[in-house]
Amino acid sequence: MQLWLIPILPLAGFTINGMFGRRFSKATVNAVAIGSVVLSFAWVLKTLIALGVLNSAYTEHYFTWIQSGTFSVGCDMAVDRLTAIMLLVVTGIGSLIHIYSIGYMAHEGGYYRFFAYLNLFMFFMLTLVLAANYLLLFVGWEGVGLCSYLLIGFYFDKKFATNAGNKAFIVNRIGDFGFSLAMFLIVSQFGSLDFGTVFSKAPAASEATLTTIGLLLLVGAAGKSAQIPLYVWLPDAMAGPTPVSALIHAATMVTAGVYMTARSWVIYTHAPIAMQTIAVIGIATAFFAATIGLAQNDIKKVFAYSTVSQLGYMFVGVGCGAFSAGVYHLMTHAFFKALLFLGSGSVIHALSGEQDMRQMGGLRSKIPWTCWTMFCASLAIAGFPFTSGFLSKDAILLAANHTAPWIYWVGTITAGMTAFYVFRAFFMTFFGKYRGHAHHPHESPPVMLVPLVILAILSLGGGYLFRIPEFLGSLFPAQEVPEDFNLMAIASGAGLLGILLAYVMYVLKPGIPEAIASGLNGIYQLVYNKYFVDEIYDAAVVKPVVGGSRLLLWKGMDAGLIDGIVNGVGARARNVGGALRMLQSGNARSYATWVAFGGVLVIVALGVAQGVTR
């Protein structure tokens, strides 16, 4: 079936553009970059059609990568239903965002570099999704992290962008450390990293082992998918170009953690403590990030915190045993959040780079296509009845209620807040009077609008595609969740209330927000400054590490001990040499004296030695 073609095509695109892109015209760069991804998408479609209903996983073995005693890791790729969904999301949305980028990046420097990185990202992401063992998955996992770093720091002449890239990379290292430990434990317990082998042996292992593995995997997932306490990198990652935020930091890469936990469901179902931890971390992240989203003024920051919050929802789904609901939300979220980011990119494009929503307003008539497509996405994320977001969020919340009702209620409140802040952003951008200074906002070119329209349709109706809950139902353990109309009504009611509140506060009575902000100044400042989490991390972790490195490792170890030893040896050699230099007087007779003296010394020494032995 040639599964390898799927990731290799974007890799070829990366190679060609990366090596020769500098000399190519923009049209050639486009053709290579977008052609490779669209071909990859087409190949996914062809493969999936050929594979049919996929009742069991289809695996291809290419070569043995690592062989050591009985332990061996192969370069294997596999497709099952979960992978099929991920493949469609990654290549489908990836293609749309590549096309959109033609318009968005048209006036930016480093055009070919951008598309080369984007193609490289596609390669690693598809490797991650197709991998049939943990190690190959980890290759993709690290690769997407690398591309994320490269693309966040795309505007490398800006200090904050490179800092954000470093932050993303370093925070992800913490998560990857957990992931590596989990893999070591898996190897030592099961003697293999193949999904099939591990999952067939896992039920027999002790619960303590599985809990440890599950929690370590969770550390990795929390790093990649921006969950508490490792979420801090994602909001900063918005320093990258907007299509990157849409593709990597909303639709695909950040969902890798959810994918990985769903993939490891066998381990988790036998480790209830790890499951509960996932659910609690998920709901805490969802709630916490949503509150921060309420008070942000940068349009991309709002959606960044929204992404963190929605990823929290997916973790709630996975943690409550509703793996298919989590993946369902992963897919619908990819539709509407990609659209929200691309739409905000279109707004930013229209305003020549302005991102502050206080400088927007009244753009509805100026950029109508962007406005109404973003409206569709906002409805979907707010959980408006029968949109895709409503279906998937409902599936998660019902499962949460089944596991622990308090998670349902916190989730519902979060849904209300989500609706509120998304529509706050929508109304601040498109309604009221234009408050900005950028001259003459203009609608984006069709090449940007077509992906927006397609994604808008998917945001509204994408939830009905593939009938995900049933489609994935056979893959994951069955979970009986009773349909409960009241709970559904309450959850979507919370969303509608949020929309209404946003309408009242930001369209009808624009004075209210400031009154609230000044009335609750303490809380407002706390939320506006993101609970000072960055500052706390800075004081608690970064400063001690930097200070410790500087004082102990640099000044103490490196400059003091290591340099001290090296310089000390050099200085001693020079001192001794300096003393010996005195002997080299250049006076032949003094040499003769030394020779004679030496001769006498030898004779005396021999005499003494013989005297001793005798």
Binding site: S585, G586, N587, A588
Partner: protein, 102 residues
């Protein structure tokens, strides 16, 4: 026949050797130093011969011949060097031939 005692030869050898050493160290003329070296070599030769006679073995003679050959070669090379030094420096004072220093 009364023999000259062995110790006399060895004492003479030691005296000649010390004279050679003293001459080598304290004289400044290169020629004199060169002669002192010859003196030391011959002092050693004398003790070789003495021991060879004493022990009734021929090894000592062999050593002496070797030393004499080496001394002859050394004299040829050494005198050539001394001539060249004198040509270049117009002096044979060892303390002034110190261009390796500096």
């Amino acid at each position: 026949m009364s023999q000259v005692p062995i110790s006399w030869f060895l004492t003479l050898s030691a005296i000649l050797f010390v004279l050679g050493v003293a001459g080598f160290i304290f004289r400044r003329s290169i020629i004199t130093m060169f002669m002192s070296i010859e003196l030391m070599l011959n002092a050693v030769n004398l003790s070789f011969i003495t021991f060879s006679y004493q022990l009734k073995q021929v090894d000592g003679h062999l050593f002496v011949f070797f030393v004499m050959v080496v001394a002859a070669a050394e004299a040829a090379v050494g005198l050539a060097i001394i001539l060249t030094v004198f040509k270049n420096r117009q002096t044979l004072n060892i303390d002034e031939v110190n261009s390796m220093k500096n």
